[in-house]
Symmetry: C2
Subunit: 336 residues, 2 copies
């Protein structure tokens, strides 16, 4: 039994207010975590606004959780009280389907998402299945690590999937919460990194994050000048772009990878893929195995999101800061 | 110097008639081939009709060539008079660009295509760069091998590209000239093979070619019943289909691969790719290395297209047979 002090919206788009709820005795595969930090992701806003028609109220957002194990179910052997862990978009998967058994637990057909029909991380405590409580490396900076659990793994998994190599030239579309982490990862991966941005004022910051080149994606001449040069492009935006223009910037065998949820169907000329054996791929988040790998890579190379920290009592101000497009580049809430 | 007796159309969509032309002294990297057999491919018809606005007349079709080396340029060491070789869609590539040096000569930006600004294989002799004169294995059936050089490699390359495994469940859309070869390859590859066909009357033949299941692609209930079951689908048709319906038949991590030139942009919902990390890929023909590998695989497993043979004097009848959709399943013209 646990009484949880959380922050919840009572209706669509509502402000977050203190909300208490009760958890039953811990399940045998679960881990209970005292939350220290929690990032804010755009999907917290989408869920708050019921944009995907999946939200139940009271709604407790928060799925970039950093915390400390305080209790473990009877089946949990590898985690103990006091261990630091992170939790992202997913909190539970069946562990028995082909995807789970194959190490792709994030593709489990019956997975549970941290803020969908569950209460999320803007709370003093949260629970998840042990598989999704990602052990954190010793030396990680807890105050900045939260956004790695959702935004970070969302752009890190594609690098693994596409087998990006340090010799590759790569591009990142949209330099916001996800895109700025992609720049940092790909720079340390050893690649030559091009940022596509429609906000020229961000250029100095973008270069500092690890981009070697910034291309103004609204400048068709600039886009033409890099035709046929990139091995891999990751798109972090969720709007319809000129997909053909990006496909043309790819080298033969190059890949355009989508992580932004673009609602309008993409118009893809098959001939543009065919001539150069180009690929269109996409992914949601990542698996626990990939998350562990990412954490180790981040600590080795000192990779963290660029964060702005708010105390939990200013949670609504923090949410508005993100909603207004002011986040540079990711918002983290300190819970304690 | 060589006087070539060929069959050419003098204008758009015209019938083929005897046509002579002169070749200069052989270039140092070229091979001259006496043509024994030549398959007819749909792209011969497309070129004859100037459908791609690239045709020059007199136009000599034919790019599924089986023949015998009769002369070699001074740089050619590995082929000699009397060797049997095949030539497909491509006749020359630069051998120096990144694609050529990397073994992807079919993606060379300055490649020459056998029937584009060159005279093709409906002739007694034809020449190509040595790299595109594919040596044939000892025991190959010359009378049936022609269609492997274009139609065959077009569906074989994707199997290599997608790293299809014998444990996979795969699908083939469109059981015609290309599709029927894909069925034969994938059956011998060890896969469980589903054919998508809108012509139920072909079912017995399709099963005999190696399909384990035939799904009527116009039956939405049948399509629904196989949702989430396939690892790999190759589309050999060139018309707009319900791409979402096919993407839904894929397992997580599955691939929809296009080899048919669909002119209308494909409408692809990013969310359908994303949820299951699905891939949309495409390819034109294949490289010389892949063609050699394919030939060896065909001889090992006795894989040949199902062909109908016409003598060269009935070339126009043969072309019409294909144009009328009557080919079961590939037409080969005997030249001698």
């Amino acid at each position: 039994m646990r009484k949880v002090n959380a922050w919840a919206a009572m209706n669509t788009g509502g402000t977050l207010e203190p909300f208490q709820y009760q958890l039953a005795n811990i399940a045998k595969d679960d881990v209970e975590i005292k939350v220290h930090y929690c990032g804010i992701c755009h999907s917290d806003l989408s869920m708050l606004d019921n944009a995907w028609r999946r939200t139940e109220y009271p709604f407790v957002p928060g799925h970039e959780i950093i915390g400390e194990v305080v209790e473990t179910g009877s089946n949990v052997g590898h985690l103990k009280k006091g261990d630091f862990v992170g939790v992202g978009w997913i909190s539970e998967s069946c562990m028995a389907c082909d995807q789970c058994v194959g190490g792709d637990q994030h593709l489990c057909g019956t997975k549970e998402e941290t803020i969908v029909r569950r209460h999320g991380g803007f709370a003093d405590y949260v629970r998840c299945h042990w598989s999704w409580a990602i052990p954190l490396p010793q030396d990680i900076d807890l105050s900045k690590a939260g956004p790695l659990l959702c935004g970070g793994i969302t752009v890190f998994n594609p690098i693994l999937m596409a087998n990006v190599r340090p010799t590759d030239r790569v591009g990142v579309i949209g330099i916001g919460g996800l895109g700025h982490m992609a720049l940092k990862f790909l720079n340390k991966w050893g690649c030559e990194v091009t940022a596509f941005s429609s906000t020229p004022s961000k250029t100095p910051e973008i270069l500092e994050m690890g981009a070697h080149h910034v291309v103004n994606s609204t400048d068709s001449e600039a886009m033409k000048s890099i035709r046929g040069t990139l091995d891999f492009i990751i798109n972090t935006t969720n709007v319809t772009l000129d997909w053909s223009a990006y496909l043309k910037t790819l080298k033969p065998k190059g890949t355009l990878h989508m992580v932004g949820v673009v609602l309008e169907p993409m118009k893809i000329p098959a001939g543009l893929l065919m001539g150069g054996e180009k690929n269109l791929t996409a992914s949601p988040t990542g698996s626990p195995g990939q998350m562990r790998t990412m954490m180790e890579f981040c600590v080795r190379h000192n990779i963290y999101p660029t964060v702005e920290e708010f105390p939990i009592k200013k949670i609504n101000e923090a949410m508005d800061h993100l909603r207004d497009g002011k986040a540079r580049y990711r918002v983290v809430v300190k819970m304690t």
